[in-house]
Every structure is written in C-alpha cells, then in structure tokens.
C-alpha cells in the first residue's frame, strides 16, 4: 500500500473550531487587563479630572487640595512629562491640554491608593476655565469653515458633461450619525517598572507597537525600554487602535514617577465621554441616471465630523471616498472629502473605517431615487453592478465582480425572496397598521490598508525539543478569532496536531514594529508571517527527515504529527517529536522569525489613484422587516446572507464575524444614537447619550427572528493565506439591507411608488416621520428634500483649491525622544 495520503479536505485550517479561549471565556478564567490588578499588589488607581466645557482655556490648575485628600498619592500634570507630552503620532493631541477641546477632556490625572481616593482627589483639584465658543455639529463646522487635515478629491471622467446630458438628475443631502464602539471592556492600562528597569504596560490595545512608541516618547526613552503586552481585549472594533496610547502613557508616567504599578481603567461614562467614535458624515450629492436607471455620474462632497484632532480621520476619509461606489459602476465620479474640526472627542477607526459611511451615500441615493425613477430598488441596484473589466473610480480593476452577482443571486434563491415578496404584498394589503418589506443590498469592500507601508506582518515561531510549538505574532486578539486562525495556520503549515501548538500573548518585545490589528487584515498579514516562519522551519527539518527516512527531502511529508516519505511504506515513518529531537542533535535551528508583506499594492494619495487593495470581499443580504405604523418601531423578521470569505480558515469564527458585524451594522443604522448637547446652554458639547442607559446597543431582541448566513462556496483567493479572505469589516455593511427595507416598509404606508427620506439612525422616531411622509406629511424634520432636475445642486468643491491629503501617517517621521 502506498504511503501517506494528505486529505486536502482535512487540514487543520478550514475546520469549524470554537474560539481558542472559549473554555476560559465561559468559566471566567480568561484574563483581561483589568483582571491583572488583583495580581499586582500595591497598584495605584488613576482618575481623570474632566473638563466641563467643550472649548475653554485652562487658566489655572491647583492640585494641592487634592493632595490633602486621604489616599491621594500624586497628581499628574503637564509639568511631569519628561519627553513629548502628546498622545498621538501627529503632535496635535496634547496629553495634558492647556486648551480644552472637548467636553470631558482630561486635564490632569489623580493617583490614589484606591479608586475612591483618586475620585475624591479629582473632585478636589481646582481648575479655572475660560470658556470659548465651541463648534459642535458638522453643519456648524461647514458654516464656520472649520476643517483640519487634507481635502482629498477622487475624480474620474467628465462629470459636468455627464450631468448636462443626463435624463434624470437628483440632488440631495445624506447625513449619518457616528457610533460608539461600546466594546464591553472599557479601555484599561496597567503599567509597572520591572526588575530590569523596563517599563511594562499591559494595555487593551489593538496597536501595541504604536502604544509602545507613544509611551516611549512621553517618557523620553527609546522604544527598547518599553514593552507593551496585550493579553486579549473585550472587543476593540477599531476603538482601541489609536485611543489607548495616551491612557497607557499616563499609566506609565505614573508608574515611573511613583515606582508603583498604576492601573488606569476608564469607567463606561469616562470611556464614552473621552474616547473617539465612528465619524458621522454629512454629504451633499447630485447624481445622474440614464433612462434605464444606469448611473451616469456622481458628484459629492463628504464632510466627516473629525472631532478635535486628526487621529485617523484622513485615512478614514480616504476609505470613504474609495467606497462611495460600493458594488456599482459609475462612469463619471467626482467626490471630495473634508474633515470638520469640531469640539468633540477625536473620531477614529471603527469597523469599516469610513467604508460604511461612503457606501451609505450611494445606498441612500439609490433608495431615494428608485421610486422617482419608477424602478424597483432591487432592480435598480442589480442593473448597476460592476462587470468584468471595469475599474473603480480610483483606477483599480475590479477583480471577480461576478462574485457579487453570485452572492446576490444565491441570497434571492435560498432566501426564496420572490415568493416572500408576494407574501409581503398580501400582508400589507390586509394590515393597515403594520407593513413589511424585503430589501436586498450588496457589498464590495477593499482589503488592505490604503497606506501601502502598513501592509506588513511579523511572527516568531519556536519549536521546542519535545516537539511543542509556541507561536507569537504581531496581531492582537479582540474576539475576532485571530489567535484561533493563527493556531490553525501554524498546525497546518507544520503538519502537527493543534494541541501541540500554543499561542503566547502579543508583546512588543517578541515581534516589533507591527501594524495595528485593523483593516480586517489581521489574518492576512500575520497569517502570512506565521506561515513564512513555519515554512522556514520545515525547510530546515526536511533534510533531517530525508536522512532518517532515506528519501529525497522534497518527498518528506509531515501530516498530523507523522513524518513520512510520500510514496514510501507506511510503517517507515517518524513522529514529529522524533524528527525535532533529531534535528536538535544535528544543530538545526528550530525557531524562525516570519515576515509578510502584501505584494502588488500601490497608492498615490495626492492623485487618489492606484491599486490600494489586495482583493475585494463581496456579499449580499436580504432583510425582511415589519414596521409599526403607530410608533415607527420595527422588527427584523428574517435575514439571509451570502458572504465571500474566500476559503474559510475557520468557518465557525467566520460565520460569527459575519453575524456579529451585521448586527453591529444594524445597530449603527437603526438604534444607536449619539447625541451631543447642541444648545447654547452650559452643557453645550456634552455627550447626552453617554452611558449604557441612554446609548442603546442591539440586544437579544434585535436579533433577527430568522437569521441565515452562508459562506460563498468555491471562493478560493489566490495569493492569500490558504485561499482565505478577510472577514472582520465587510459584513457590517450588509446591514444596509435593513435600512433599505425599513425605508420600503415606511413607504408601504403611502401610495404606490411614493419616495421616502429616512434619517440615520432609523430610530422608531425617524421611521415614524418617514411613515408620516409616506402618508403625505412632508419631509421628515431635519432632512432636506431631494431636488429633481439637471444640472442639479452642485456641492461645494473644496478639493479644487485645498491642499491634497497627505495623511500624517504617511509622513514617516523619526520617533522623537531618541536624541540621535
């Protein structure tokens, strides 16, 4: 009988495994940063002094009364910073501000023996503020021309002539709200100085390397003097990409100054009032269609609400502009982006990173224009899909556009949408006070960091003499299952059983200079690096095995812990442990550093052209909703999804990502309501929905009654890790199906073919006003009516005279503080 057969369908990758920490999660044994405090005797607790103004000068700061409070050990102020007192990479986020830029900003931090002592100390600190006028909303910022950063323009084709000759032109405004990440675990850092005088910071960070850099520059020490570890996070969603740095730096500063461990954990209210969120967007657009409903041109100006500092606003805007097309071919495009500076938290990365806000524009446009064009919205969408050979407005050829079509058709078929549409029509005919609708929407989402340099990953794989394997890589685990996938990749690549492989927590002293675990790229980049390390090791082991088995090195097969020669006799095999131990004796290196860079990417941010993405992820969703005409409340009755994750590395993880992202997207679009005090009262600029009782997340009752997710089959992606695709972000945007279904259900309260404008988020109140509009009640409060007719209302064209966007993230400045 011939030798070993590797069942290609039975690799460790591709198995539906539970999360690698599942048994720890369910028993409460999984540790998060704040759980470590109990293990660190003598830790001090940090509490902020938060400014009660959206914009003010700090005229005077007196900490002495705080020092008189029992248990208060020290108050950290700007005078304590030995290095650079800035929490960001661009120098626009002072750690201890003298000018308050948003309501709730921390002006100093009190360290206490207990959190209660620190809290009382913070109350005792005396601060004299001189309030200044504040810009709170995007509309106010546009009015006041209050912007920051570059103003990119993305352009293709002759927009003006497209509008001039078009059969149908519509103009309007689309606004969407931001979103609070509401990771269940709030930000936490725990810093101490270890026995080798190294500053060690345990941090809930998606970007340990950058946290390390910021801590180092604040302390004025080189990066090698600081180690950041992230055990795991209780959710991140982008909110822990840039925001942890300043908090970690405060904890580290406290630890170096007092010689004691310092714990800084934000309460939910502090987290919500101090840390950045998804950007809200304001977009003025005009759009041209031909008589058949084909998109001819889009001219739009997107203004994001950046908050007080730039943070990631530029790359977020870039991604928004690169996603206004979603899955649709638009021959002539001119989209401008600008970032409002407002006196709010500094808005930041959030799952989708501007993509959702960009795509919302085109989905809102299509949803509002379909009735005006006399077309069924699903038909209008389908008609405009990309076809083979077409390119995006930024010049990247759309590869595999047929996959969007396949997802779409499969959703319609397996979801029996045609039959159910008839049922919906019957239901609506017999129900006066409740109406239903089904809407289908597509997703096309580009994968890779727009900025090419970030597309690299590192790993460190050790094989010990007993055959056990330890994997380190640069990505962080926040629930997305990255570690599970990396274990599967390592076990598959080495050919060993999963239980031989262990994953160690993410640390900057193991794998340096890592990119953020973001842009859905964690598995692509780190998986590539883990794979590289494993292949190096295996390549060194093959000759050893070949010598022992008496075969050629290329014929050595390692599978499930058995080492044998392909085609050789079955009994002539070794165990993995035997091979490893033989290799050790032969002085073969049993560990390797892996590295991966994504090839073939290029991007020019001055022209906004290039091929920034490795590939596109596709998907489609059909959502059925029911709207209550009395209140505007709704239920999601059924959702069908087909989503493209390539060849799934870990199907249970991937389905979980699709479902979780969808529900989170539906939360953003229908429920979660960030409200700031926009009045001229004393609380102006305060987040009025800044707690769990006022800011509502989807709960179990928002779970679609019937929720069916399928991963697209035969979806192998060449050149990616085991043919897999990223999954973290793209499915969030499948939730547009819910918003469009709500629009259609609201319209069903009015005459056939009525067009409806729907605010975002589509809260019950917003839906109620849309229902009223359908019933003849006029445009909902706060919305602008769509204007019909060529050439349309031309949006501001800021990009024409403004500086191009050069994201500060692309200005690779040497890290300050090195003194070299």
């Amino acid at each position: 009988m011939s030798g070993v057969r590797i069942p290609s369908d039975d690799l460790v990758v591709g198995r539906p495994l539970p999360h690698e920490s599942a048994a720890l999660h369910v028993t409460g044994a999984a540790l998060y940063t704040d759980d470590l405090v109990a293990r660190m005797p003598g830790a001090l607790h940090a509490h902020p002094v938060q400014a009660p103004h959206a914009h003010a000068l700090v005229r005077h700061l007196d900490v002495t009364p705080a020092l008189a409070v029992p248990g208060v050990v020290r108050v950290l102020t700007g005078a304590d910073v030995p290095g650079v007192g800035d929490a960001g990479v661009k120098g626009d986020e002072p750690l201890f501000p003298t000018e308050v830029m948003f309501h709730g900003q921390a002006v100093c931090w009190v360290l206490g023996e207990t959190l209660e002592a620190a809290r009382l100390g913070a109350l005792a600190v005396e601060v004299a503020y001189e309030p200044l006028p504040a810009v709170v909303t995007v509309r106010e910022a546009i009015e006041a021309q209050s912007y920051q950063g570059g103003m990119p323009r993305l352009e293709r084709g002759d927009v003006e002539s497209a509008f001039a000759g078009a059969a149908h032109v519509y103009s309007g405004v689309t606004e969407c709200a931001g979103q609070e990440h509401f990771y269940l675990e709030t930000h936490c850092s725990l810093a101490h100085v270890d026995e080798s005088r190294q500053v060690v910071v345990q941090s809930s960070t998606q970007h340990p390397s950058e946290t390390q850099e910021i801590v180092a520059h604040v302390l004025g020490v080189p990066s090698h003097a600081v180690t950041v570890q992230c055990l795991r996070m209780g959710g991140g969603f982008g909110g822990k990409e840039m925001q942890p740095h300043g908090l970690a730096a405060v904890a580290a500063l406290g630890a170096t100054l007092t010689g004691r461990p310092v714990r800084l954990r934000l309460s939910r209210a502090q987290d919500m009032s101090m840390t950045g969120k998804r950007h809200g967007f304001h977009t003025r657009w005009r759009v041209a269609f031909d008589d058949d409903g084909h998109l001819l041109a889009l001219d739009a100006t997107l203004t994001s609400d950046g908050g007080w500092s730039l943070d990631l606003s530029e790359p977020v805007m870039t991604r928004a502009l690169c996603h206004v097309d979603n899955a649709y071919w638009i021959p002539a495009v001119r989209v401008n982006g600008r970032i409002a500076r407002t006196h709010k938290t500094s808005q930041t990365a959030f799952r989708g990173f501007g993509g959702p806000q960009g795509m919302l524009v085109i989905e809102d446009v299509l949803g509002r224009c379909a009735p005006r064009l006399g077309l069924d919205p699903a038909e209008l969408r389908r008609r405009n899909f990309y076809r083979e050979g077409q390119a995006t407005p930024y010049g990247q050829v759309v590869r595999h556009p047929d996959r969007a079509v396949t997802c779409w058709e499969q959703v319609l078929e397996t979801g029996e949408v045609a039959r159910r549409l008839e049922e919906v029509a019957r239901f609506n005919a017999t129900h006066e006070h409740t109406k239903r609708a089904i809407a289908t929407t597509p997703v096309k989402f580009g994968i890779a960091f727009n900025f090419t340099a970030f597309n690299q990953g590192g790993a460190l794989v050790h094989v010990y003499k007993d055959g056990s394997v330890l994997v380190n890589h640069g990505g962080t685990e926040m629930g997305q299952g990255l570690h599970t996938k990396m274990l599967q990749v390592a076990a598959t690549a080495l050919g060993v059983p999963l239980d031989l492989v262990r994953l160690a927590p993410t640390r900057t002293d193991k794998v340096p200079n890592t990119s953020a675990t973001a842009a859905s790229s964690g598995a692509d980049l780190n998986g590539g690096a883990v794979l590289d390390a494993c292949i190096q090791i295996l390549d060194r082991l093959r000759p050893v095995a070949a010598g022992l088995l008496g075969c050629a090195a290329r014929d050595v097969v390692v599978y499930d812990g058995r080492v044998s020669a392909s085609g050789g006799p079955e009994d002539a095999s070794l165990t993995w442990a035997e091979l490893v131990s033989a290799a050790y004796v032969q002085r073969v290196q049993l560990f390797a550093a892996g590295f991966h860079r994504t090839e073939g990417l290029h991007w020019d941010s001055s022209t906004m052209q290039g091929s920034p993405f490795k590939y596109f992820s596709y998907g489609a969703a059909a959502a059925e909703v029911e709207v209550d005409g009395f209140t505007g409340a709704h239920r999601v009755l059924r959702v069908d999804i087909v989503h493209d994750v390539g060849d799934s590395l870990s199907p249970l993880v991937d389905v979980g990502q699709v479902e979780g992202a969808f529900v989170q997207g539906a939360g953003w679009l229908t429920l979660e309501d960030l409200r700031w005090d926009e009045t001229d009262g004393p609380q102006r600029g305060r987040l009025t929905t800044g707690s769990a009782s006022t800011y509502k997340l989807p709960s179990l009752s928002e779970l679609p009654d019937d929720f069916r997710v399928a991963l697209l089959e035969r979806a192998h992606e060449d050149g990616a890790v085991y043919g897999s695709k990223a999954v973290g972000e793209p499915p969030l945007m499948l939730a547009f199906s819910v918003r469009e279904a709500l629009r259609q259900a609201a319209a069903a309260f009015g005459p056939e073919g009525v067009a409806v404008d729907l605010a975002s988020p589509a809260t019950p109140e917003a839906i109620f006003w849309a229902v009223e509009q359908a019933r003849g009640g006029g445009v909902p409060p706060g919305l602008e009516a769509v204007v019909e007719g060529a050439p349309g209302v031309v949006p501001d064209q800021p990009g024409a005279s403004a500086p191009p966007v050069v994201p500060a993230s692309e200005e690779l400045v040497p890290a300050p503080g090195l003194g070299v």
Binding site: P18, H19, S21, A22, A23, L24, H25, V26, T27, G28, A29, A30, Y32, A38, R119, Y183, L184, E185, R232, M233, G234, G235, S267, R268, E423, E432, H433, G479, Q480, E626, F630, T631, A633, R635, L637, R638, L652, V655, G656, G660, Q664, L671, T688, T689, S691, A692, T694, K696, P698, S699, L700, S701, E702, L703, D705, F707, T763, P764, E765, P781
Partner: protein, 496 residues
C-alpha cells in the same frame, strides 16, 4: 440592641466574611477584590449584565431558586446570608458546566467579556424548576401570516425562555449562537449539586449588620425596627433592590453612612387579595409581582415584561420604583390608570394616599422622610379595557420616551369611566384628566376616540431630549388611544 447575625456569604460553596465592607461597595467590586474576576464590569449601571451572578432566593412556595442579578448594583453587604454562584463556581476549563459547554462549542463567545455574565443568566434559567420541554418549540408562536415569533418571545424546544438572557448585552456575536446554545441545553442531572441551592429553604428575613470604615449596612428584622432606625439616623438611606440607588452610587458618587436594607421586611412583601382591592407589598420584586399576579391584572401584565430586563426585575421593587418619583418610570402611568393608592407607614401610623396626589414635583412626593412605602393598593373591580403603551428606542429594556396606561370601563357602548396615566411628558407622571373628560359619557366609537386622541396629544408639557422630540411624544400620546381602539378596543372585540 440592634439585630444582626455574623455577616457572611457563601460564594461558590465557600463561606466568606463580609465584615468591614462599606455599604457603598458593590458586590461586583467586592467579588473581584477577592480574586473572583470572572464577573466583569461593562457599565456599572445594570444595563449590560457582564456582572451577572446567581443568587439563591426564596421561590415563594417554600423553596429556593436561582435568580441572576446585576452584581454591580447590589451592595456587597446585602448578600449577607445568601448563597452566590459565579461563572467560576459553575465549572472549570477542564470540567465545563453544561451551559458553559454549549456556549463554548457553539461560538457563543468571541471576545468573551460578556460571557461569564451570560453563563450565569443562562444557568439560572437552566435550573428553573418549572422549565419543561415544549415539543413544538419555537414554531408554536407563529402568527397568522406565518412569520416566526420574535426571537426572544417563544421558548425553545427545551422550554428555555430567552427573556432570561435578555438583560445581557453582547457586542460581538450578534446573539445567534447564544440563542442556539440556550436552546440546545438539556435538563440538570439528578445529582447536580446546584439543582437545589444549599441555602436554608426558609424565606425568613436574615437580619444583619455590616460595619465598614465608611458606614454601616443594616437589615432590620421588621418594619418597626426599620422605622425606628430611620428616626434615629436622619442621614439613613433606605435601600430595597438597589437598582436605582446602586446607579447613583456608581455613576453619580452618592454615598451613605447608614443604609437600611428593607428588601426582606415581611410587612413589605405581602401580596393580598381583599374584596375591594389588591394589596401589593412595596418590597416585592417586579419578577415576584409578575409571578404572583400571574396575569390577574392585565394592565400590569402588559407593563412588567416591558420593564427593564429580567436581571433588574429580579431585584427592583415596586416600592422603589414609585419612591424614586421618576417622571419616566413605567409603573406609575399604569397604576394611575388603575387608580391605585400608596400606603405609607411612619412613626405615627399609616396613611393611604391616592397615587394621583402622591407626586408633587420632579422626583418629589408627599412622603415624609420618616415614612416608608408599605404597599400599593389597587381597587377592584378592574376596568374591562386596558392597555399599556411604552415608546422607546429599543423594543425591550429601554427607558420610556413616553408611557401611557389606559383603563376604560365601557358600559352599553358608552365610556362610563376612563383613567389614563402618562409618563415622559411632564416633571411627574400625570393623569390625563382632560382626555378622560373627553371620553367619559361619550359613546365608545371611532369618532370619540379620534376626538379624545386630539385632546391627549395636548396633555402635559413634553420636551425635546435625547430620547425623543416633543413633537414625537405628542404624536405618541395621540397614537396610544387610536391603537387601543384598533387593537381590540373596537366594540366587537370588547364584547367578544
């Protein structure tokens, strides 16, 4: 001498000392400080359930059962005499509890931060003694159009009521695998040590006194002692379920040197049926009220499932809800419609105050500082046509933008008596007296309803805030009456 037994609590089978615990230290912080870091803080205001633990409680019929509660709100001292189980106590990574095992293998955890809390809420329901398999399962609730029932409303094939886990938030999973895990559960093994909580099965109050550096927590034996303590300590705070006070402590820095725990006073825990009225004890939890009334008062049966989450309902009390005087509380509009009265007990004895004269302004009432709410009195017979309409952003577990309680006596096609309570449109809960007048004596017809709805629209002085605009609140007031008519208030239905 003031009563008190040694303040101890049994956690995961181990007896722990509570002595030295401050009254403002919550159970979550206390457990975590003891190294039990399984329960997490996600919000510290009862909204997320990451802190949920199981507590053994009297079940009202002589035994005990597990109730999941928010550890972030309960004073640690209030656990004296209780038995508590946390996620760590249910199982270990090597020996998972059935609930833990289903959650783990089905992908019920992603980041895992919400998971220990979910596991505790789910385990409490797993052990519910009257949970029975329902062979038809979720299909049983399908409505006429063939649509499935809302996800959380139909029990699973194993009788699992998803409401039990609806006070737990998860930001990662989207809940589907958690629902699947819940529905996949079997029944406890006969020798499962947790199937019957070990705590003494008596429901007798456990008086106690816990002294901490910053104050004392005292649970008196009876109402008389409570009133005496209240008289002696003018700075004392009464605490029942602590779902309101706990939020004030955690988020608004409220502190109290002397806390009187009234949650187990026998005088406050009666549910009695007199010929002319129902007497509802102030210290009954909303969950106990729901079970105890079992639908007897349809208007309350409509309110209770819409009130907060099951974790909160397991502890929040009827008296506490009225005592806060919140203008957006859910019980007041319903009880106003039911013409309820408040029974106040003070040093000088008791007095009965009609609820519509009880509230005097924003969060204030006629109750004197030395008085305790003893019970609520709901007169009989009940109105034949009632409804409760709560409008909020999220369908469940959200604070009302507007709440309307409606109770109409329709006799021979004429509205003989109408009582309407509204919340969310003024500084206090109100009776919509102009609307009542627009209904009473009129024929019960659509025309009357439309005319009265126009009056109801103008009741109160609603404002714009983050929950709703004034215009929407007004529209919702009007809609509530029209809805009552449309959804079964029309004459055929009344007499059906």
């Amino acid at each position: 001498m003031e009563t008190g037994t040694a303040p101890q609590v049994r956690v995961n089978g181990e007896v722990l000392d509570l002595e030295g615990t401050d009254p403002c230290t919550n159970a979550l912080d206390w457990l975590r400080s003891r190294g039990l870091t399984g329960a997490k803080e996600g919000c510290a205001e009862g909204e997320c359930g990451a802190c949920a633990v199981m507590v053994a409680r009297p079940d009202g019929v002589g035994g005990t059962h597990w109730a999941a509660v928010n550890a972030c709100l309960a004073p640690a001292a209030s656990l004296a005499g209780r038995e508590v189980v946390t996620a760590e106590g249910l199982g270990t990574p090597e020996h998972l509890h059935p609930v833990q095992s289903e959650m783990a293998v089905r992908g019920g955890s992603q980041c895992g931060y919400c998971t220990p809390g979910f596991v505790c809420s789910m385990a409490a329901e797993y052990y519910r003694a009257d949970r029975r398999a329902t062979p038809t399962g979720a299909d049983a609730g399908a409505d006429d159009a063939g649509a499935p029932s809302p996800a959380h409303e139909a029990p699973g094939p194993n009788g699992f009521d998803l409401v039990a886990i609806s006070g737990n938030l998860c930001r990662c999973t989207g809940y589907r695998p958690i629902r699947d895990a819940a529905f996949a559960l079997g029944f406890p093994a006969v020798d499962d040590p947790l199937a019957t909580p070990a705590e003494a099965t008596s429901s007798a109050p456990a008086p106690c006194r816990v002294e901490g550096a910053a104050g004392s927590y005292v649970r008196p034996t009876d109402l008389a002692e409570a009133l005496r303590l209240l008289g002696e300590h003018p700075d004392a705070v009464l605490v029942a379920g602590s779902t309101d006070w706990g939020v004030d402590v955690n988020l608004r820095g409220s502190r109290a040197p002397f806390v009187i725990g009234i949650d187990r006073l026998p005088e406050l825990r009666a549910l009695e049926r007199a010929p002319q009225h129902l007497e509802l004890g102030a210290a009954l939890t909303l969950a106990e009220l729901e079970r105890g009334l079992a639908g007897e008062v349809p208007l309350l049966a409509a309110v209770l499932p819409q009130f907060a989450s099951p974790l909160i309902r397991n502890t929040a009390t009827v008296g506490g809800n009225l005592a806060t005087g919140s203008p957006i509380g859910d019980l007041a509009p319903a009880l106003l419609a039911l013409e309820a009265s408040v029974v106040l007990e003070g040093p000088a004895g008791s007095r009965v105050v009609p609820l519509d004269t009880h509230f005097t302004g924003y969060r204030s009432s006629v109750r004197r500082p030395d008085e305790v709410i003893r019970s609520l009195r709901v007169p009989l017979p009940l109105a034949g046509l009632t409804a409760f309409h709560k409008v909020a952003k999220r369908r469940f577990d959200d604070i009302s933008g507007v709440a309307v309680g409606l109770a109409l006596h329709v006799e021979d096609g004429v509205v003989a008596r109408a009582r309407i309570g509204v919340g969310g449109v003024a500084a206090t809960p109100l009776r919509a007296t102009s609307t009542e007048a627009a209904l009473e004596g009129r024929p019960w017809t659509e025309q009357t309803v439309r005319a009265a709805a126009a009056v109801l629209r103008e009741e109160g002085t609603p404002i714009d805030d983050h929950r709703a605009s004034a215009a929407y609140r007004r529209a919702m007031l009007a809609a509530s009456l029209v809805r009552l008519w449309a959804e079964g208030g029309a004459p055929e239905a009344v007499h059906a």
